[in-house]
Homo-oligomer: 431 residues x 2
């Protein structure tokens, strides 16, 4: 498909003509953050594009063009999925080789210069103003592995696990865009959990971990008291990002009873900068993990193919500069789909808002190399994993840089990818 | 003190000259929500007041007057506690009998007519745009009572309880202002928890409960990665509201392992409309409950008097029209203060933002009549409590109206009160 564009889209690019993900950028020449799309190694600033008659051939969007000048995607998302689809298709038609609208961009070198920026030269920003962030636990293999570590194989999964998408409210203010450094948190930890007397200390986290997840953004609000039926849940989902839900395992172990993780999770959650629209991901819907439980009708989906088959990879680069792939898996390893999570979330009447973020929970496959957290890979630090250059890790060290990548489809120039989600660990603040 | 105002402030009013709480109002004659203060049975619209030279004698505030035209208190709160103090004192001086500024309001009957509204005629709105809402569990007696119910007296409190303010991330989007009806949620419940096979059903909640809490609003942001030391935590606290954290106990019992309460808490949290400034509450600081544990230095306060002695009361009016007081206690029944909660919250570097809401957790005294939830009062529905008119309750029924009131000080015309926090239970949606 890339050969079908007049624009240079390198083979292997995550941002092919089949994708058209949305994000927020600024640059030295255009310092106000605007809505943009990514294509190949470039970004098209849609505010500049719109101001220069870029959407002149798309009457549907003309009354709404102000949304592209916003510093977040919230206003664009609010327009609804039919509009997102129209805009994406229109942009595809502008970039296709035989575009019916050559004057818009193909032959308009002045607008190309004004509105198109190399990705390397733009600053990406958090794509949404996030109202609430909810993190689910839909990665069955992860939940099982963690359950085995803490409760043994017989009780690994709690009785509710296969009946409802277990989740908890997360911290919205500490969700950051890919590239933001993550400072190792200080927190209360119990150095000697086996001791009779439980005496915690305040310490830099010693069990700093990753969680490989997907995040989905909500694009339709429901009123308080009015659940979103499963048949309508897809309409509420704007698109998907990669997510690393950094976790302080030692803080978590001490604090989490009886109300769940709190400080262990509120110091940072990284997401990829480019949001891949639900429409772009539709060809990659597959059946998720088999649920051998009879689930209640409100969670039953008409279409069994409701989770995405996204190839996911986690790379760890240490301060020595050596990089190692520590996990390869697929997001099909989920027991619950985003529509199921969203419907369950709202069944009580909880009002979801545009810009809310739903995390999938950690995604792990069955094999050791497919585990999406170090907690699982090292059995909570009991063993170490080998990295390139004779290094090894139980948990993250200062200077470690973690990169998550995700991509769908085969490399024939029509990849639908997420770019990456990166974070480097900075030393803890000295208190 | 009320006898010292030229304005009619009825004896017994929660909104005496010693108070001056802030909120957001609109009225039929001024339909745009504005910042206001409550005084006696009236509200003063500060946007109208400012537009008519109300602040002409207060040069400090003049560059900032636009904050009063906002539909939330966020911008005003951002100005910081010294400015809140100056504005409150100035308004007190405008209303005092021998005001040095009679021309501002006392002798300006035109402005009185324009800017002062009977409370009965105004609509109050959610006072803040809430970024994140965190609910703590600082009510020791409540935590103990609930622990006894579920784990017995020997293990009632978890080992961490006296070392850190246990808390969890709540749902910001469903925090509503007093008076908003609460629809009984539907949710997954386990009708027969004792059965071998755990088969949940989707049902209207049968164990709908209240939680008597205080809420505190944050007025100063900290940057990600930079904790707020305990010595500075008071500067980050704007003021306090009454809070009813409605809870679906049957939903909670089934869903809460291992990540904590989720749907059981996300269908509604009511707060009182008027935020009492931290300054107004300072005279009512007392020592909280004794902590017999050596707490870590980062949580140690210089001043042992750090929780508020607010008289709290919960009334339940059934659809028969009969009202019964079901709880009387004091907010001194907390093990942790708001500064301790805030500092612990940020110790990992979690960024707090202006408008964040911190809940205290349910407040209960030692006596049965002092318990702040029906869960405790009825031993999770095992016994019923008697109401007036030979009615009784285990949990809330449709049509029940719950009113929380809170007030400090003695009734010599200088009460500092919160008004009330009211919610009526509507029947569940038929699914």
């Amino acid at each position: 498909m890339s050969s079908h564009s007049w624009f240079d889209i390198p083979r292997g690019s995550h941002f092919s003509l089949a994708n058209i993900p949305f994000g927020i950028i600024s640059s030295t020449s255009s310092t106000t953050p605007h809505v943009a799309i990514a294509i190949g190694n470039h970004a098209l600033d849609l505010a500049i594009f719109a101001a220069n008659n870029g959407f002149s051939a798309l009457s549907t969007i003309q009354p709404h063009q102000a949304v592209f000048s916003q510093p977040t995607l919230n206003a664009f998302a609010t327009l609804g999925r039919p509009i997102h689809a129209v805009v994406r298709k229109y942009i595809q038609s502008v970039f296709v080789k035989d575009t019916p609208y050559p004057e818009v961009l193909k032959t308009n070198s002045s607008l190309q210069k004004q509105a198109i920026f190399p990705l390397k030269e733009v600053q990406t920003h958090l794509p949404f103003k996030i109202g609430d962030y909810t993190d689910f636990y839909a990665g069955l293999n992860h939940a099982y592995n963690v359950g085995v570590l803490f409760r043994g194989p017989a009780n690994a999964l709690q009785p509710n696990y296969k009946h409802l998408p277990v989740g908890y409210h997360g911290r919205a203010s500490s969700v950051v865009v890919s590239g933001t450094p993550i400072r190792r948190p200080n927190g209360q930890i119990l150095e000697n959990p086996a001791a009779e007397q439980k005496l915690p200390s305040l310490s830099p986290c010693r069990k700093l971990d990753i969680e490989l997840e997907l995040g989905a953004f909500v694009c339709r609000a429901n009123r308080m008291g009015e659940p979103v039926p499963i048949s309508k849940a897809q309409d509420s989902l704007f698109g998907v990002v990669l997510m690393n839900d950094w976790s302080a395992r030692d803080v978590q172990a001490w604090e989490y009873v009886p109300l769940g993780p709190f400080n262990a999770k509120n110091f940072g959650t990284s997401i990829s900068a480019w949001v891949v629209l639900a429409d772009a991901l539709e060809p990659f819907l597959v059946k998720g993990l088999e649920n051998d439980t009879q689930i209640l009708p409100y969670l039953q989906e008409k279409n069994a193919e409701s989770v995405y088959d996204i190839k996911l990879q986690v790379d760890l680069k240490t301060s020595s500069g050596q990089s190692s792939t520590i996990c390869r898996t697929s997001s099909r390893n989920l027991l619950w789909s985003f529509p199921q999570m969203l419907t369950h979330h709202s069944i009580t009447g909880c009002p979801l808002q545009v810009g809310d973020l739903l995390g999938s929970g950690t995604i792990s496959g069955l094999e050791p190399s497919e585990r999406g957290s170090l907690l699982e890979q090292t059995a909570n630090g009991k063993v170490s994993i080998k990295l390139s250059g004779e290094e090894e890790r139980r948990f993250l060290e200062d200077g470690d840089e973690v990169t998550i990548t995700g991509v769908c489809g085969s490399d024939d120039g029509a990849l639908v990818g997420f770019g990456d989600c990166v974070g480097i660990i900075e030393p803890a603040l000295k208190l």
